[in-house]
Symmetry: C2
Subunit: 358 residues, 2 copies
């Protein structure tokens, strides 16, 4: 499927990120968010996203989709072929919101939840048409990072998974279908494991948040931007490859190298310790300034990876080439060629309408 | 300190990576490795490293240091001011090798272990001069990734830590001193946590190694090349920043989102499953080919980050600018200017000899 009109339910960091990606791909979006500040917040995210997309495609972007702020979920989902739910991670709230979406969305609309960890099966129980629910879990910033984890629940139809893969591919994303449904899927399992360990390291005073961040971004962070841990370890095995690596490092797993048996107590003291160190690390830069730096860096990394592998691009870089190429192709024509555009439109009117293809 | 002559004890993937970084910085290295294949293997790593450095500094590199293959540890450490130990992770072996290094190295030589996780205190017991031992834990590929974790044991002198910081900085690295000694330090704690979780995901059939790798490198891997997890989450908190993020996501930690209470059994079946999937993922590319792609990608990412932040560079990119600038400055002069070099040499001979400064 291609997306003609989308609805975004929830306009927080993730919801607004979806809105930005959709609009910048030329898709109309109706958003519902009860927060009176929603319009301003989405506007801020749009500003950042526009700035990043202009860097990605300096020759001009497609005409932006139209954004509408709806007063109710029913109004937002009206006529939508994709409804993206991004409300807070509480099952009761998800149930309420998904039931409402389900009741009012067109029968053939795909309903996708942005949840980071709740199983789709646990959410489907609230729906009369559970077969069209998938989890489509993105990563922040949604308008730049290409990954979306697709997870089916027990009542999800295979067709819904296929629709989701097509829909997200058509807006420059990399859908990866998770084979079995588990809480937190794959991405957040890995993130939670690292996060839990990181909290111990800070709590125990082994390092500060800045030192920990530096340890990541001057070492394996650079590796993981281009190859995941298995490919990286395959190479680390040297000429003998993966079997050698596994044999060499396998035993370490049972050494006391992680605090695996415990979760650090999440109290005010720990929150304060981390928040204070994080303030110091920011070194006077506001969230918005950090966001710009982050976005510039991400665009630069993807662009750099796009030039690798004999110009074909590697990993996210290959996808970046295809995506930015597509955006450039669909760019709004400059005003000079208005006459040509009119002629083209007239010519088109003679032919039967073809399905729009992204 | 600057390094005038280094000794490398052990020439595996890590040891050879150290040799490459040192030689390409113009430092003479004597290596000891009992493997009859050591010379060929180090030669292969040098080939890859030279290729990467030529990309980094296309205008010419400093004269390479001289590499000597020593027959004994005593011969290798003779006259060295830095001895880098990179033998396999077995405490008994570390004890034997460090005792031998300690016995023969110059009294003022710094002794550094590349261990990924053994506490320096546990290794110092084998040494008569334990005060000069530090852990200096690098990341593969050592000739490209800048991070080195510096860890002191209970008998390490603060001066040794200072010497280590200076020495590794002088060869383009980012030393981070770990505040308290724990097994696996900081980097490998995080890596082990993610690795353990990854093994579960493969073992349980949630995803393949290729899917897991894609999930990493199309999402948070791109983020972590430029900011670590705390800075990233600070931004994800939106306008409310870190305190908001902690409050929002804190409770998830005790949800069943990781297999935290258990270690997957590391049997032949699991090794075979992963190795087979890894073979498929490689898609016919040899380790050497993958290594080239990895190195090209890493250089491209660091170069791209070097152009960010109004040209000052960001994170590993800022360091990359300084390092490549330094290498370019120290590049061997092209032959055309031989006369000029001779004149300079004559002029130098008139002045008292100054300490070489990297």
């Amino acid at each position: 499927m291609t997306i003609e009109k989308a609805a975004a339910i929830g306009g927080g960091v993730i919801g607004a990120g979806w809105v930005a990606r959709l609009l910048l791909n030329g898709i109309d979006v109706a958003i519902y968010d009860p927060d009176p500040e929603a319009e301003r917040k989405v506007g801020e995210v749009m500003k950042g996203a526009r700035r990043a997309y202009r860097k990605m495609v300096p020759g001009g972007l497609p005409r932006e989709g139209k954004l509408t702020f709806a007063k109710t979920i029913a109004e937002a989902v009206d006529g939508a072929d994709l409804v993206q739910e991004s409300v807070p991670e509480r099952l009761d709230l998800k149930h309420r919101v998904l039931a409402e979406i389900d009741r009012h969305a067109p029968a053939n609309a795909l309903v996708a939840s942005s949840t980071s960890g709740i199983k789709p099966t646990d959410m489907q129980s609230a729906m009369r048409r559970p077969e069209r629910l998938v989890v489509a879990h993105p990563f922040n910033p949604v308008y730049l990072l290409p990954l979306v984890e697709i997870v089916a629940g027990k009542d999800t139809l295979p067709e819904a998974v296929e629709m989701a893969k097509e829909a997200y591919s058509s807006i420059g994303m990399k859908p990866v279908v998770v084979r079995k449904e588990i809480e937190a899927f794959v991405g957040d399992r890995l993130l939670e494991a690292a996060w839990r360990e990181a909290l111990w390291l800070i709590k125990d005073g082994i390092c500060t948040v800045e030192e920990l961040d530096d340890i990541m971004r001057y070492s394996f962070g650079l590796r993981w931007a281009q190859m995941g841990m298995f490919q990286v370890y395959r190479i680390a095995g040297g000429e003998a490859g993966m079997r050698h690596f596994m044999a060499q490092f396998g035993p370490c797993l049972t050494w006391p190298w992680t605090k695996l048996m415990d979760v650090p107590e999440y109290n005010d003291e720990l929150v304060e310790l981390i928040a204070t160190q994080s303030d110091e690390q920011a070194n006077g830069l506001s969230i918005r300034e950090l966001e710009k730096i982050r976005d510039d860096n991400l665009v630069a990394i993807m662009e750099a990876l796009g030039k690798q592998n004999k110009g074909k691009g590697w990993g996210a870089g290959a996808l970046y080439n295809a995506f930015t190429g597509e955006l450039a192709k669909r760019a709004t024509k400059p005003k000079a060629s208005k006459a040509a555009e009119k002629a083209k439109a007239e010519k088109k009117a003679e032919k039967p309408k073809k399905k729009k293809k992204d």
